[in-house]
């Protein structure tokens, strides 16, 4: 039975990352693997509609690409020895048309993730390389998602692959003693991909949604391949919970809708249930890091039937822990807001004023925005308007600016 063209695209999307990771292991070369896989796809597009789809398309592609690689290496004389070696070793590893062990493919993916997220690569290159090779997203799509010129993004990928080859970055899951640090690095890349899709305001909305979906998919792969890693599960839960609100966060007019004002019937209940379960299981297994704490907060929000029923006392307590372990200006501001909601608006405002007095956050629009919101709740409208204006002068994100301008307009009418 032939795959229809639509199915072929879907197959390409879902499988290319897995096939590529196995090929990279077999060939030991990113570029060679990528190029020969493209050639194998071209052959498949010609052959499959005529001769029918092979019983195991994945191993057919791997085997075809491998032969292409051997041919190519043989043509380039100076790699003669490598080609012979490859012909010998990979013949034993891949039998054409045979079923490749699922866990072997899984291990290949995990190795590839760790290679792409190696700390000796620049962070932005780790993100791009993971999307390109593990997720199979095209360079063009990545450049669109990150609002980076195509040539720059392509160059970034070429440099990263060059460094992997030249510096001898291994294609391997780190040893037990390194695993913890290295896994943190992988989780950071996954979270950055998610946030790029979730937080950024401009660019192609579809591509952004795709980034969130890819990050969640990566999170699932990590959890499936390393079930003992509770922090990975906490991150997956966090992403699922945030993403469950995707349809309520932005109005039909493209306006940002605050959590408090979101139509909770638009939240994806099944995803909240799954996310909450995953977070709970991560906590039971000892997750207590930054993702676990944020996920716990997200779970409290997601499971509140109405904004008024939110368990702000517990959220404030979780922010206390976050502030102790992972102090940052954003966390400090969020904690003050939680205190305002849990105890009293005045107390929260007092905390924000103290942050302001330290003058460390002068460029940070979230501080005046939070002050403005609390002042508005207290009916101190003139001060609130002043704070909104301050926030507006600092905010750069279009959706946020529109939101602040709307709020300022509302206040000025009172």
């Amino acid at each position: 039975m032939a795959l229809a063209l639509m199915d072929f695209d879907k197959f390409h999307r879902e499988e290319s990352g897995r096939i590529l990771s196995t090929l990279i292991r077999l060939l030991g070369d990113f570029d060679l693997a990528e190029e020969t896989l493209q050639e194998a796809y071209a052959v498949a597009l010609q052959k499959w509609p005529m001769e029918g789809t092979p019983a195991n398309p994945r191993s057919w592609l791997i085997s075809t690409a491998r032969h292409k690689a051997i041919d190519r290496l043989r043509r380039e004389q100076r790699f003669e020895r490598k080609a012979e070696q490859l012909a010998k070793t990979s013949e034993a590893t891949v039998q054409p048309e045979s079923e490749i062990e699922e866990d072997m493919v899984g291990d290949d993916r995990l190795r590839l993730i760790f290679t792409c997220c190696h700390p000796s690569l620049p962070l932005e290159a780790r993100v791009a390389l993971t999307l390109r090779t593990v997720c199979g997203i095209t360079t063009e799509e990545i450049s669109r998602a990150f609002l980076t010129p195509l040539a720059t993004m392509a160059q970034r990928l070429v440099r990263a692959k060059g460094k992997i080859r030249e510096a001898g970055i291994p294609y391997r899951v780190p040893s037990q003693e390194e695993l913890r640090d290295r896994l943190d690095g992988v989780l950071l890349v996954v979270y950055l991909i998610f946030n790029e899709g979730y937080l950024a305001s401009s660019g192609d909305a579809l591509v952004r949604q795709e980034l969130c979906a890819e990050a969640i998919r990566l999170g699932r792969v990590l959890c499936a391949l390393m079930p003992a890693q509770a922090e990975a599960r906490a991150l997956l839960g966090l992403m699922l919970l945030h993403d469950s609100r995707r349809d309520a966060r932005v109005s039909a007019e493209g306006e940002l809708v605050l959590l408090e004002e979101q139509d909770r019937s638009l939240w994806h209940a099944e995803q909240i249930r799954e996310g909450t379960e995953i977070v709970e299981s991560a906590l039971r297994n000892g997750a207590a890091g930054i993702y676990a704490l944020q996920a716990s907060i997200a779970a409290l929000h997601a499971n509140a039937k109405t904004a008024a029923e939110t368990d702000w006392a517990q959220i404030a307590a979780l922010y206390d822990v976050l502030l102790r372990t992972h102090a940052s200006p954003v966390i400090e501001v969020n904690r003050a807001v939680a205190v305002a909601m849990a105890r009293s608006v005045e107390e929260g405002l007092g905390l924000l004023d103290e942050i302001e007095k330290r003058e460390e956050l002068e460029e940070f629009h979230l501080l005046p925005a939070a002050q403005a919101d609390l002042l508005r709740r207290l009916g101190r409208n003139e001060e609130a308007a002043e704070a909104y204006r301050r926030a507006l002068s600092l905010a750069t994100n279009d959706i946020e600016r529109r939101f602040l301008r709307r709020r300022l307009g509302e206040i000025e009418k009172l």
Binding site: S120, E166, G168, R172, P174
Partner: protein, 121 residues
């Protein structure tokens, strides 16, 4: 693969170390060198005299220009190196992390370009 591990430390800070601690540090270096020799990773290595002893040479338009001091003023200075044989970057990094100087200074890990690579380039 071979890697050069370049050990950078602040000479100003080094100068403040009491003699007893300095001796302990040398002993630690001796032990580390022995360990990576036994494991077959050691190819070579030496400490360097301070940058005050350095000379920089340039040839411009056939004319030799000799100046005192290191090439660039930096917070940390190159104080020594190891040349090691390692399977890959991860092994090189874990060996670099065991160099006593890594705790106060920094180690730059540089892959050595093989002669055939140099010809191709």
């Amino acid at each position: 693969m071979q890697y050069l591990l370049l050990i950078y430390r602040s000479e100003a800070e080094m100068a403040k170390i009491p003699p007893a601690d300095l001796n302990a540090m040398y002993a630690e270096y001796g032990k580390f060198t022995q360990e990576i020799t036994d494991s077959g990773n050691y190819v070579g290595g030496n400490p360097l005299k301070p940058t005050a002893t350095a000379t920089t040479v340039r040839v411009r338009d056939g004319k030799r220009v000799v100046t005192d001091g290191p090439f660039a003023e930096t917070k940390e200075q190159l104080g020594g190196y190891y040349l090691i044989e390692a399977n890959d970057l991860d092994q090189a990094i874990s060996i670099a992390a065991r160099i006593p100087g890594a705790r106060a200074g920094s180690i730059e890990v540089r892959p050595i370009m093989s002669r055939t690579q140099a010809v191709q380039a």
